[in-house]
């Protein structure tokens, strides 16, 4: 199963993706992660303006059966959150790489991007996790 992974984003082993535009990063969870969680029914978003370190827990994603953490894939300041998800969190299931984006961050340690994974590297991780 390839989970319709995208070539145009970078991945974190904790199942987030980042789409980089200059020093701005758009962050969401991967198609594999939403599939593992199942039907998403609630997301607790952080406040705009807060600064989070890479690796810190920045949002909670609740599905019918489980709770998932959104881990900051790189450090930065939250400059926007996807408010649409408060009413329609299921967009994370139906469109994890587009309409289901979660955060926009201003990255303050762009060198951290080098720690992120390519789609091929990420595929190996989910293959080793499954089955």
């Amino acid at each position: 199963m390839d989970y319709n992974l995208r070539e145009d984003v970078k991945y974190a082993a904790s199942h987030e993706w980042v789409r980089v535009k200059g020093d701005i990063g758009i962050v969401g969870i991967t198609s594999y992660a939403q599939h593992q969680l199942g039907d998403i029914v609630f997301i607790e978003l952080p406040n705009v303006g807060l600064v989070f370190e890479k690796g810190s827990n920045v949002a909670e994603i609740e599905s019918v059966k489980a709770v998932g953490d959104l881990i900051m894939p790189v450090s930065g300041e939250i400059i926007e959150v996807n408010k649409t998800l408060e009413g329609t969190p299921e967009l994370i299931n139906s469109s994890p790489f587009e309409e289901g984006w979660i955060l926009k961050i201003k990255m303050n340690h762009s060198e951290e991007l080098g720690t992120l994974l390519s789609v091929q590297e990420y595929k190996k991780i989910i293959e080793s996790e499954g089955h």
């Binding site: 199942g38 039907d39 609630f42 607790e44 019918v64």
Partner: protein
């Protein structure tokens, strides 16, 4: 199967006769009570909605099935069950609990009277061995023999408003003659089957029991007729909306049926001694310090089992089950709280990840259509 350092470790989880079908349907499988079971096929919410609007089928073969035979089943069960067997008659089933002397619950279950000398009993998957021992240890000199049929027979729940129409096309009996909690042995496309009008979803429907060898054929036939396979996830969200107790959550060996709000289940049975009777009748007349209540979350969030419940800064109880209700489109739950705060619409606070969210004590069930 787990492979560690190249060595295959066969897990002890058992497969039901429908296992291959679950895998073929792409189900997400989980370990549950020693069985590997489907938690969902495609989507818990879609499966939930299918049961509310149409019809769904659940593999409940992990549950236990006992056959009781003998001349003394009536006095035996009157002694071990809290419900009153006098309300039973042949072809009828009864929901009950068996309790310890202190009133807490060994298990909740349904038994069906085939004849006064032959009963069928369906128990929780996680309690099969415990129940079998418990029952056998109380037979004394009564003429009762208990056989565990769990491994020879499979069980399927067919639930939803279309369940009657769907099943009627393939069975040789008039289903409209089977009232709620009654059952019948008949044929489904020529295969012998036990059909009871019971369920755990808050919808009309049936629970079916059959020999293992016929399970897959019957399952596939029901699927072809339009019943949607539904997993343990939907089973849980449906029963929560209907506010049915789940052993290990609302009832267990530390909670009594009265605390869990099952007042109607505790019968006086005058002149008959039964296990737990003194404690339970006293609780029924005097009330208990703790009581199970329905909860609705006002703030946005999801409540789950074991989250703490507060009133004005004081801890007053905990959530026994919680989740998102697909039918009501809001967060609901059940909680065991200090009975002083049981009034409907009492505002409480529920702790979710160090935050206190507002909730309301709510009347139950949240939803039922039976």
């Amino acid at each position: 199967m787990i492979i560690i350092n190249g060595v295959e470790i066969i897990t002890e989880s058992k497969r039901t006769p429908l296992y291959d079908s679950h895998i073929a349907l792409g189900a997400k499988m989980v370990d549950f009570a020693g069985f590997i079971m489907p938690v969902q096929y495609e989507s818990i919410i879609k499966e939930h909605v299918a049961v509310r609007n149409n019809a769904g089928i659940f593999d409940i073969s992990h549950m236990g099935e006992f056959l009781l035979e003998g001349e003394d089943i009536f006095p035996f069960l009157q002694y071990i069950m809290i419900n009153d067997l006098k309300l039973l008659e042949p072809s009828k089933g009864q929901y009950s609990c068996m309790c310890y002397e202190n009133g807490t619950v060994v298990d909740d279950l349904v038994y069906y009277e085939e004849t006064p000398q032959k009963f069928r009993m369906i128990v929780n998957a996680s309690n099969v061995e415990k129940d079998f021992k418990w029952l056998n240890s109380h037979i004394r000199d009564w003429d009762v023999k208990i056989t565990d049929l769990s491994k020879q027979r499979a069980r399927i729940a067919l639930q939803g408003p279309k369940a009657d129409d769907l099943l009627q096309t393939i069975v040789d009996t008039d289903l409209s003659n089977i009232d709620r909690f009654y059952f019948k042995h008949c044929k489904l496309n020529g295969l012998p089957i036990f059909i009871a009008r019971t369920g755990y979803t808050g919808e009309k429907g049936f629970e079916l029991s059959m020999e293992n060898q016929h399970a897959l054929t019957i399952w596939k036939t029901l699927m072809e007729l339009g019943a949607k396979p539904a997993g343990l996830g939907a089973r849980d969200s449906l029963r929560l909306e209907a506010s049915y107790s789940l052993y290990g959550h609302e009832i267990n060996d530390k909670i009594t049926p009265i605390e869990a709000g099952l007042f109607w289940l505790v019968k006086p049975k005058e002149g008959i001694d039964y296990i737990g009777k003194d404690v339970l009748l006293e609780q029924k007349s005097k009330g208990t310090k703790r009581i199970l209540v329905g909860l609705t979350l006002i703030d946005r969030g999801i409540i789950r089992q074991d989250y703490k419940i507060y009133k004005d800064g004081n801890e007053i109880g905990y959530v026994t089950s919680g989740g998102f209700s697909p039918t009501l489109q809001k967060t609901i739950g059940l909680g065991l709280i200090d009975a002083r705060f049981k009034e409907i619409n009492t505002e409480v606070q529920i702790e979710i990840r160090d935050k206190l969210l507002k909730g309301l004590v709510t009347s139950t069930p949240f939803y039922r259509n039976v």
